[in-house]
Symmetry: C2
Subunit: 377 residues, 2 copies
């Protein structure tokens, strides 16, 4: 069976790609950064500000949403977009990653994974078929297959066992997705840990099954950046040129810049909001740690040339005060400032790739970050 | 010495008043509700939304701000308006109330109050003169005198001692305010607990000293509503018609409606934000408790006719989900929805007083609240 294709590769500059992905809820310009709205909300940011910051698409976490408020309830309320009021494209993960990191008493079998809800202790099962069913109930524009993600470091045997299981789950996910409404997409997930041969096997097996797009999973789990980039280098060349490629859970601005240079189109990460809550601001001049006392009397904004009002209109002294005082507004402002910077970076990348100047953009951008309080990664 | 007057009484309807107060940072339409930005920020609300909701003026807490970031620092950074980015009128309290409720080891003497900071344990003194100095460093449009507020119930002797001390502090505050820049105002505070004769003595003594405006303090501290209204009834008739009257720390929509009916012009309260964080929505149809499970599947917005997007664009089911999940967005949305409702109520009051229809507005509004989950007070 052939799969529809809503992705258009508009331009290539080295391995870096400029593209456009049409979803039932709108167009996604790639490379794209997807802010993470865990339980149907961005932490500390209004939906309108996510859109104003330039995000085309956001990510929702199936694990959280299936536990509360529940997939069937969301379907009754008209789907995730209507429920949340975010009326744009949405990608949902399969729930597998959070089952592994948050749920108790999880047990993986051929059939799927059973676990206890971290909210009320209820015993639940997530199979490849149920993961797809749940995401179809949500009305997700892009659904992800259920996979098993192994924490690194791990033995080759453990990595291979999980990867092979994920391939079998990929086949079942693909079958379960048959009959999904037009335009809705399913992505397979390349696993294989830090083992190049397994990454290649995984990528090839997924391409043989056939998906609307391909994710690279199981990275950004503590391994050095060079390992992450090497694994992208193994998998990406095997993936079809005309399908979108999504690097899951990544990452820092530097990670994203390097991944784009290796042919990645989509990203998601909680970094801009989580680190924002801790007082870290991402800017053109690197990461500024607003907890630092040296900002207490500094009347300058984070970036007087920023197009984002929050980065331009508030002094570092005020942001420092808000963070030190635990005022919710501090977390709110830094979260949106960071999301806006991540979107600004993507917009710069897209412009550079479109103009064939990605290499110089990459050097200039990395040089700018050197002035920050904290290393870029 | 005569005091300048920037208040204009535009219209009276029974005892209810429509007015306009010109401050150095803009005009305040009265009756006015002042959202409380404790430590230089609204809890969970962007400044732009406070303004969009219709607030002309906000309140800052001197106790919090003098401890952190400090009055001298705020002055160096250009004053409270420039520091916070709220470029409109601001009233600051004297710090006395929070010293009583938050600080440790406080000791009241004729000179002032000594206390230990709840942040770092530093021993500090707040005198009537220092309270004025701090508020002048802030650049507050309206400063409040230092007073001693007694918790009710209390003995008549305790209430009278604190009231007499507050009068002596009022005189010292007035002297300390001499030479303040044009247009900046100082309000005296009527005390006297629940003792009618003491309320009258306090009001008369303050009028003899002379202030730009008059507050009624020491109410909304747990006493029944009828006691609060009776005390307003003692004090208000003694206050000059041509000066604004501010009922401190009040209150519920019903309290405000009744206080306006007795000649009050200004209010402040943490209720809309604090109760918003707890899942309570203030609406035309009363208080809706969104923690209640009966809202879990309700696709209706809080108020489909509201002029505030948050009250109109999100379902009760979604707000219920956000509050149950502890998502910051739930507190953010309900806080701004409540602030917007309080401002909407004030706007309705002003329109009714202006049109001479306050009595019927009051009845209609109170009848509307009856449909809520919780009593209006």
């Amino acid at each position: 069976m052939t799969l529809s294709n809503s992705f258009t590769l508009l331009k290539q500059d080295g391995e870096a790609r400029l593209g456009s992905l049409v979803t039932p809820h709108g167009v996604v310009r790639t490379p794209a950064f997807m802010p993470v709205g865990t339980a149907g909300a961005m932490k500390g940011i209004h939906w309108r500000d996510i859109r104003d910051a330039g995000a085309d698409i956001v990510l929702g976490n199936t694990y959280h949403l299936m536990l509360r408020p529940g997939a069937e309830r969301i379907a009754r309320l008209g789907g995730l977009q209507k429920f949340t009021g975010w009326n744009g494209p949405m990608l949902t993960d399969s729930g597998g990653f959070q089952v592994m990191s948050l749920a108790q008493l999880r047990k993986v079998s051929e059939q799927g994974v059973t676990f206890k809800s971290h909210i009320d202790g209820a015993v639940l099962e997530l199979s490849p078929e149920r993961a797809i069913e749940v995401q179809r109930l949500f009305g997700s524009d892009i659904a992800m297959q259920l996979d098993e993600c192994v924490r690194l470091p791990a033995s080759r045997d453990d990595i291979e066992r999980a990867m092979r299981l994920s391939i079998r789950w990929a086949e079942r996910s693909r079958r379960a997705f048959e009959g999904a409404p037009d335009g809705h997409m399913l992505f397979g997930i390349v696993q294989g840990g830090d083992v190049p041969a397994l990454r290649r096997d995984s990528a090839q097996a997924l391409v043989d099954i056939g998906f609307h797009g391909y994710a690279i999973g199981g990275l950004a789990v503590g391994e050095p950046q060079e390992v992450m980039l090497a694994m992208i280098g193994e998998a990406a060349p095997l993936l079809p040129q005309d399908r979108p490629r999504y690097l899951m859970g990544v990452g820092t601005p530097d990670d994203m810049l390097e991944a784009v240079a290796r042919g990645i189109d989509m990203f998601d990460c909680v970094l801009p909001t989580r680190n924002g809550r801790h007082g870290h601001a991402f800017t053109r001049r690197g990461v500024i740690n607003l907890r630092n006392a040296r900002h207490a009397d500094d009347p300058r904004p984070l970036d007087e040339e920023s197009s984002w009002p929050g980065a331009r209109d508030y002094s570092r002294a005020y942001l420092h005060h808000l963070i030190k005082s635990g005022e919710a507004l501090g977390a709110m402002l830094l979260s949106e400032i960071n999301i806006a910077y991540f979107q600004h970076l993507m917009s710069g990348i897209r412009e550079a790739v479109g103009g064939g100047t990605f290499a110089s953009f990459r050097e200039r951008t990395r040089a700018g970050w050197a002035a920050g309080d904290l290393p870029p990664r």
